[in-house]
Symmetry: C2
Subunit: 341 residues, 2 copies
């Protein structure tokens, strides 16, 4: 392979001069710099990443730790991943993607071998066992997902409390007084999917304040069971006029379920969901919804992380907890409830 020694020889300068000419870290005579650049062109020189990392203690690589919960909707993770990889690249970093089950072990491995300059953790749980290791690590970390304790890390998430409230407020303003909430499977919650109960609790609390009857359920994440779940919930609450969905599979199954029951949206029932706009368009999820903001969250986490890596954030500065405000994307699936229903 071609090294900086080759470049130096061809350019007729020392290796240090070649290095400085390329990094611009000290003044170089224009003519000398031109010769160096010419040699680089001629030889097709690219610095060896391992050697540079060894010399500088910076790898220009970010470790991205994904986390997949059984029964959770995995494909949604891709949008966070792409937000991270694209933003990282724009800032000059590559991304090492780790998907292994044992995230703690992976984190230890990458941190102690100095393979990365920092970490982005996806799908962070309320009491995420990866956080202990992360706080001990020499590299900084940014989270997508809000844990119980946020000290020592920067946190980015959708405001799920605000999301639960917004869903209920929206239905309340239209005049609805009895609602059904379908969350992700209970199993997801048990494994640490805090956003599920955070949204549900906020919705229940707001409903209680407003005098709304809110029936909160967990639903399955796959067909045909989610279809059966939906029918069961609707049977149990024949007077409910609105549905809140925090479950992609429920949003996909609902149109058929409603059609079979002869119900129309929004004339007979109003629906509001929480899922990605991309999925809505690809998978015919025809309901007004609050977007997950996956790309935005992934990018924000990387920006903050890189700022820390590059020392652009003062040592003493407090850690960031940034929650994105929910916004309803109107697809016309909510209206005032039928009079007398």
């Amino acid at each position: 392979m071609v090294t900086i020694g080759d470049v130096a020889r061809v350019a007729g300068v020392s290796r240090s001069t070649a290095s400085y000419a390329l990094s611009g870290k000290r003044a170089i005579t224009p003519a000398v710099r031109a010769k160096v650049l010419e040699a680089v062109q001629e030889l097709g020189y690219t610095p060896n990443a391992g050697a540079r990392a060894l010399a500088t203690s910076h790898t220009k690589v970010i470790g991205l730790l994904a986390r997949f919960l059984e029964d959770e909707f995995a494909p949604a993770m891709l949008q966070y991943i792409l937000g991270v990889t694209n933003e990282a690249r724009e800032l000059g970093y590559d991304t090492l993607l780790v998907s292994e089950e044992d995230g703690v072990h992976a984190l230890e491995r990458l941190a102690s071998s100095r393979m990365v300059d920092g970490f982005v953790l996806l799908n962070v749980a309320e009491n995420d066992d990866r956080l202990g290791v992360l706080r001990q690590a020499a590299q900084p970390g940014a989270l997508v997902g809000l844990p119980e304790r946020t000290s020592g890390v920067d946190v980015f998430d959708l405001d799920f409390v605000g999301t639960g409230r917004l869903m209920v407020d929206h239905m309340h303003e239209l005049g609805h007084r009895e609602l059904i909430l379908v969350s992700q499977p209970q199993h997801v919650v048990e494994r640490g999917g805090a956003y599920v109960w955070r949204l549900a609790n906020a919705a229940l609390e707001r409903a209680a304040q407003l005098g709304i009857d809110l029936h909160a359920y967990f639903g399955s994440s796959t067909q045909p069971s989610i279809g059966e779940d939906l029918n069961r919930f609707l049977d149990a609450h024949p007077d409910a006029t609105g549905l809140l969905l925090n479950n992609e599979a429920a949003a996909a199954a609902l149109p058929s379920v409603l059609a079979e029951r002869g119900l129309h949206v929004p004339a007979d029932v109003s629906v509001i969901g929480r899922y990605s706009d991309d999925f809505a368009r690809t998978f015919s999820l025809p309901f007004s919804s609050i977007d997950s903001a996956a790309d935005e969250l992934g990018r924000a986490a990387v920006q903050q992380l890189v700022a820390r890596i590059e020392g652009r954030i003062p040592e003493g500065a407090r850690n960031v907890v940034h929650l994105i405000s929910p916004e309803i994307l109107d697809r016309g699936s909510t209206a005032a409830p039928r009079v007398g229903s």
Copy 2:
């Protein structure tokens, strides 16, 4: 950070002895080896990845080059990605995920900086501009997706020709004589999605052999346009009794379209798709389908790549082109056409 020098000092041996004790590349007295391992434990030593890469010319990292086409169904990519990252980890490798637009540039960057030991390319096009660079690179490469020229690379893909034939054969055996094929958007084909026309051409050819009337269309990849497309196709061919879908959005939109037209599956119309089983269950895609085999393909590509990286494949050995045979997963959406229809 703790280095092998620290380990050597604590264990009371030389650095080379410490290194050999850990690598097992030469015989070490059991007692000495025990002292070294103890020191490693005590100090919490992990080799520095950059230093090791510099010394050995092996990074133990695989470069994964994703490729996203406009209008193509991006989330499906995650299943390939996870197949790759999981298999890689099981074989002792980490994965650098690159999603940038300019795949040629990314490939050049990773190859020339020696950041990775080999490459996996996803969604390879008929004449993929990344292949030229890959063939010049010092590192081996494995593809998911079949290009026109396969020399110098190992190739893994679903047999899309076989898939097109199988769809037609299956319908033919049931007695269908007029079919509609809905492919991904034309735009995907133009950007190099060869699998789309490969399946379509094979289906057309087989249909011609069997005397079947096959109407092949491109469909949009999002709602509401794909719903309009489907209605248009069905209007144009009122006597068609079977639908072949190579388009996820079409599979998601079809149930509503058929319901509105008062058509039942499979009594009035038979349907067979090509998409991932995971999506089928999450997104209520209720049709018999041929699975994409994403996980299997990603894993196979990594296995072959690692075998090459580690020199377990003889220099002169021919490159592999491995096509997975399509299999129909029966969801009961096909039957004999209604008599007299």
